[in-house]
Symmetry: C2
Subunit: 126 residues, 2 copies
DNA sequence: TTAACTGTATTATATGCATAGTACGGTTGG
DNA sequence: CCAACCGTACTATGCATATAATACAGTTAA
């Protein structure tokens, strides 16, 4: 069963996209694997305090991305391969670093200083 | 005159906030300094192809943040101090790194690998 | 002075996101 | 079998964002 215990909203981005990203990061980390059972829309809704329609929107997105499979009436399951996992990993890592690098450059920060700031934040984070 | 030549929309975040961030990063970089003249709402609207009301919303935000000053009928000017600049710098850098570090950790990426990815993206960026 | 510009305000429309409530039919385990 | 789930669909409301069109008063340079 895919766990959402560690999920928490904070971003300014749409909630349904935060859920999609959470699942994608779990896949990259290996904590979510092929065949894993997804919590039902209603259960996850109650667990994280988000409207069932919003959960459905996230699941629909995951379905469209080929990350989960749903059958009307039955539960939903994760359907990924080593290849699709590598694709997700590459896309997420690229997106994460690209934004930081671009903004750091616009602020006139050097690469050395940027790396130093990342290392510092890494230690401060809990 | 504050230049928006380098500004380009891409983010999924609100346009007016992208404009605010663009100005803040320019201040941190030192390309935008105290007393600089802001382009008028209408001129910037035409320049970057965004509705004047959206520009006004961004300028209102900058005004509320104490970054610019406006007088009805006259032009708007940047009003920052070394102290406020340091505050903006610290807040932007912290926000930039915090999100990356948290997501990287959720993906099971090590600090060494994260730094390596940043360095790599730094070189690939143009 | 005055024409051109400025900031500011208003109303209206459209879209995306999130919530609330309800409903229907498929699946499944006791 | 059938009750308890499940996915799915629908209408309605509220809010933030973005656009469009218009208007008015203050400022400024020729």
């Amino acid at each position: 069963m895919v766990s959402f215990e560690q999920f928490q909203m904070e971003d300014g981005s749409p909630i349904y996209l935060q859920i999609v990203s959470f699942v994608q990061r779990g896949i990259v980390a290996g904590t979510i694997t092929d065949g894993d059972e997804m919590p039902s829309r209603r259960v996850l809704s109650a667990l994280i305090g988000v409207n069932p329609n919003t959960i459905q929107k996230a699941y629909r997105q995951l379905e469209d991305d080929g990350i989960i499979e749903s059958r009307s009436g039955a539960k939903s399951y994760v359907t990924i391969t080593p290849a699709s996992t590598r694709t997700i990993r590459g896309r997420l890592l690229s997106k994460e670093t690209a934004a930081l690098v671009q903004n750091m450059k616009q602020m006139g920060i050097s690469m050395e200083e940027a790396i130093s700031l990342v290392a510092e934040a890494w230690s401060e984070e809990e």
